[in-house]
């Protein structure tokens, strides 16, 4: 069972719907016992960083503890950003600090938010992208992006006038800036791959 962390921010249900659609047992929860029992965690997120971190509250520690035990964790969009150390969206905020790096605004020369389908180059050694070939379009909707400063993290990029971090993987920690639950068939494949990682 995959636990989707319920922390009262928008659109967590979509992730559950997509998981159910691919036949993956998933529960929306912030109950410590459930999170303990889960084979993997998903940290979804549609919100501003500070609001999301505050809403996560005591569940932050549960996620950090699960990460330390080697449980696979997938952060999506703002959930992906929360994996990092800090953000400056509407003021400075601390993140979960599972991966070294900061969350910064997309440079103003680009249209903000970065919203729509963009082509992601898929490194073949990143588990989330198994069976998807060298590049695929995924759906993005965000105004901030991650600057990865962690030598242990693998990074997949998309081109938005600069190499924008589309996905990261550091041991059992996975993050996608795009929305796999809203990226059609290729997005569902990313979730299937995460399911396989959790069951593996």
């Amino acid at each position: 069972m995959i636990a989707v962390i319920d922390y009262n921010v928008g659109n967590v249900q979509s992730v559950c719907n997509a998981l159910h659609h691919i036949g993956c047992e998933a529960e929306l929860s912030r109950d410590p016992a459930r999170i303990e029992r889960a084979s993997g965690l998903i940290l979804p997120g549609v919100a501003a960083f500070g609001y999301a971190m505050e809403a996560l509250g005591s569940a932050a520690e549960l996620v950090q503890r699960a990460a330390a035990t080697g449980k696979p964790i997938l952060g999506i969009c703002v959930g992906h950003q929360l994996l990092f150390e800090r953000s400056c969206e509407y003021g400075p905020h601390q993140g979960l600090g599972l991966v070294r790096g900061t969350v910064a605004p997309i440079p103003p020369q680009q249209t903000v938010p970065h919203m729509g389908w963009n082509l992601v180059e898929l490194p073949q050694d990143m588990g989330l992208f198994s069976g998807l070939g060298p590049a695929k379009h995924f759906y993005f909707a965000h105004s901030f992006h991650v600057q990865v400063q962690d030598p242990q993290a693998k990074v997949a990029y998309t081109d938005y006038g600069f190499p924008l971090t589309a996905s990261i993987q550091k041991a059992n920690i996975y993050g996608v800036q795009f929305h796999p639950e809203k990226s059609g068939e290729q997005g569902l494949q990313v979730l299937r791959n995460f399911q396989a990682i959790c069951e593996g």
Binding site: A47, P108, M115, N118, H137, A141, T158
Partner: protein
């Protein structure tokens, strides 16, 4: 955040920088009493099917996004729309926006929690512009769509006036100024409907699209008037739109999403195909 309006040496607006980002094809489903309907100039509604079924069909056949507009937008229709959003979310795995009658942060929260990716506000934002700022702060500006119903001004040529209450009530607000203000307040996208062109199948109002897309730095969705594949191409190339919204030409089977995307790709536009 101040609007980023830059000029080049000739004082013309700089084009937005879009790298590899595909142009979006977005069918719009106007919903009334749990049915998809489509009219001409906002009148003479024609039935186009079940919203969940039609939405899933578009999702499966390659639409980039969907927009559902509750055109009854009464207090009573709210619960129906939330139920519909939940059912759509179980069957549709592309982003969808929901609009029509949204007045409060709580309503936006409920729609996003039910599975919508974005909420679009129109009349309520005109009445209370702070709603855009509050929603952007709470949900992130990518969740906030400012829908503008625009009508060509009879008294000021080359200008458009904002209309509210499903287009029934003209205001003296200038569309371009309102779009710029909307961006400043926190809207992440503008859904720009030409009331003059809507449902006519005679082409988008690309002067309108160009005026707004040059004035703002957020994506503009062109809406109202699509009748041919060429119209869709023109909205992007002539109008400067980042996405094209259509209803009649796809609901009634004139064109498939794939035909539309192949046409735009073959004419050189980046598409998710």
């Amino acid at each position: 955040m101040p609007a980023r309006r830059k000029g080049n040496h000739r004082g013309l607006p700089l084009r937005k920088v879009r790298f590899m980002l595909t142009k979006r094809v977005i069918p719009c489903l106007d919903v009334k009493d749990n049915r998809v309907v489509k009219g001409v100039n906002f009148l003479n509604l024609r039935d186009a099917g079940d919203p969940v079924e039609l939405g899933a069909r578009y999702s499966d056949t390659g639409a980039d996004e969907l927009v559902f507009l509750d055109i009854t937008a009464t207090i009573r229709s709210r619960k129906t729309i939330v139920d519909m959003v939940k059912r759509v979310a179980e069957n549709v795995f592309i982003p969808f926006t929901v609009g029509g009658g949204i007045r409060t942060i709580e309503q936006i929260d409920e729609l996003l929690r039910s599975g919508a990716e974005k909420a679009s506000v129109n009349t309520a934002a005109v009445r209370n512009p702070n709603l855009l700022a509050e929603a952007a702060k709470r949900f992130g500006n990518q969740c906030v769509v400012l829908a503008i119903d625009a009508r060509r001004s009879k008294s000021r040529p080359g200008h458009w006036q904002v209309c509210v209450k499903a287009g029934s009530e003209p205001t003296d607000i200038d569309v371009v100024e309102w779009a710029v203000r909307g961006e400043q307040l926190g809207a992440g996208e503008i859904l720009l409907t030409s009331m003059d062109a809507d449902g006519t199948l005679a082409g988008y109002d690309n002067e309108l699209n160009r005026a707004v897309s040059d004035a703002v730095n957020i994506p503009v969705i062109a809406s109202g008037g699509a009748g041919t594949l060429g119209h869709l191409y023109d909205a992007v190339v002539v109008g400067g739109a980042d996405a094209v919204l259509m209803a009649s030409i796809t609901h009634f089977g004139n064109y498939t999403i794939r035909q539309i995307k192949e046409h735009l790709r073959d004419r050189g536009l980046p598409m998710n195909l």
